[in-house]
Symmetry: C2
């Protein structure tokens, strides 16, 4: 049964795209068939796989706005078993014009419903809680919320959880969520305190796995490969593999 | 003559809010009268000044959506000479519903036009190029673009510059822009290479002042004060003062 995971947080720069790229790489290494979906007009996920967004003629925006089929836009990536639905600047139009349609929240879920050959579909969201992110949350089995252990990030969880409550009451009552601590600097006192606070507040709702800062991740985005396939023995590759293992063992109720 | 500076970048987590807070503190220290405007539904600028967004009943959203007067929502902050137009979650509604109005781009410019007693108005934008950010760019004399010297951030400038070209051709032909390098780690090779690339591409269009990583900035957000008033001798307080000086001396053509 295909598991769809929406990776989202209204807070910017918390490693949403990096998590989709790296977790995707780790899941493929573990033998799963994986589809990545780029819902951000910035198209960083597309860029992070070595594809120039300006050269993408048909993107996920065509699927959402013009009912293009998913298969007509999907691409293979340099990694066998890892496919991509790319984004481009048109996604900005989707953000502005989707919400005036009736039942716009279900567009992504319906478009992806036939893709039963994938074990996991990972969706990268923009830093907002607008129409595009709502689509991803409505289609999701799990909402994975990357969070830096910093004041603005932790405060921002409130808005994301309010959106999840709305989604549960409308179209997706069974969706779970889990928080992933990212870009953690173990020597930093604020990071330590905020991580403790997150575990105290969310308990099982926080992944055991923590992703620490690792400058190799910055290098992998320039090269256009997930960290698992760029620098296999790096700290972040090892940590994202641990995340993939934790995820595949138990997508828990929260 | 009041100078309005919109601090914006579609890329998330590049220190837009931190720059508005810190630069605001530095300008007030130098004797200027300053108004900060929070246009982000996350309301991090409001939070960073010690105000709980959930308790803000009337925000900038009321000004944009319901023609509330600016004076009816403006607040003093703990810092004399530094006032704030706060945000709250209603700003999400502004992002969704503004763009269907005729000439929506001019709403902020018109609302702020009577505030001649301020020397500087600094506007914090959400990580997007939607209707709210377009309002800020249209009202601005200068668009300040904080950018981390990393691949996704530098690539994202393309989208911001395209938006500036559109704004110049429509309602604001004289607006300038300048890039500010933020969260720089001088020991990091990628940061060094990307900074060189930015200077080679933009020349004078990049501030001389660079803001380096400084964990004291993280602590100041928790306390609710700009870094200049929280830890006056810290590296980032000194660098944001240098930025204020560079800004007040020459808001150059780019
Ligand atoms: N663990 C890490 N260690 C060091 N750098 C990291 C780490 N994770 C991500 N980064 C870097 O931090 C920056 C922010 O990450 P990323 O772009 O993935 O965040 P995002 O949440 O997708 O941002 P946005 O809100 O703009 O979509 C990127 O330049 C990325 O390379
Ligand atoms: N120079 C710096 N050194 C260390 N940390 C910093 C620095 N500048 C900002 N930060 C921290 O990095 C995080 C991101 O900064 P900030 O929230 O200001 O970015 P932003 O661009 O406003 O994000 P968003 O796109 O979500 O609005 C914050 O937790 C902030 O405290
Ligand atoms: Mg991203
Ligand atoms: Mg911000």
């Amino acid at each position: 049964m295909t598991q769809l995971i929406a990776v989202t947080n209204e807070k910017g720069g918390v490693a949403k795209t990096t998590t989709v790229l790296s977790l995707g790489g780790a899941l493929v290494e573990a033998g799963y068939e994986v589809l990545l979906v780029d819902l951000d007009a910035q198209a960083n996920l597309t860029l992070g796989l070595g594809i120039t967004p300006a050269k993408v003629r048909r993107s996920v925006a065509d699927v959402l706005l013009n009912s293009a089929s998913v298969l007509s836009i999907s691409r293979e990536t340099p990694i066998p078993g890892l496919d991509l639905l790319p984004s481009n600047a048109d996604m900005g139009l989707a953000e502005r014009f989707l919400s005036i349609r009736q039942n716009y929240e279900l567009l992504l879920k319906n478009a992806l419903s036939g893709l039963t050959s994938y074990d996991y579909i990972l969706v990268d969201c923009p830093p907002s809680l607008g129409a595009v992110t709502i689509n991803a949350m409505t289609a999701a089995n799990l909402i994975l919320i990357p969070t830096q252990p910093e004041y603005f990030s932790v405060h921002g969880l409130r808005g994301v959880l309010a959106a999840i409550r709305r989604i549960r009451s409308q179209h997706n009552p069974d969706v779970n969520y889990r928080v992933l601590i990212t870009m953690m600097d173990r020597r930093n006192r604020i990071h330590h305190n905020m991580s403790e606070q997150l575990r105290a507040t969310f308990g099982e709702g926080v992944f055991q796995t923590v992703i620490e800062t690792d400058t190799k991740l910055r290098e992998s985005t320039v090269i256009g490969l997930p960290i698992t396939h760029f620098f296999s023995r790096s700290r972040s590759a090892i940590q994202y593999r641990a995340l993939a293992q934790e995820l595949t063992q138990n997508v828990q109720e929260t």
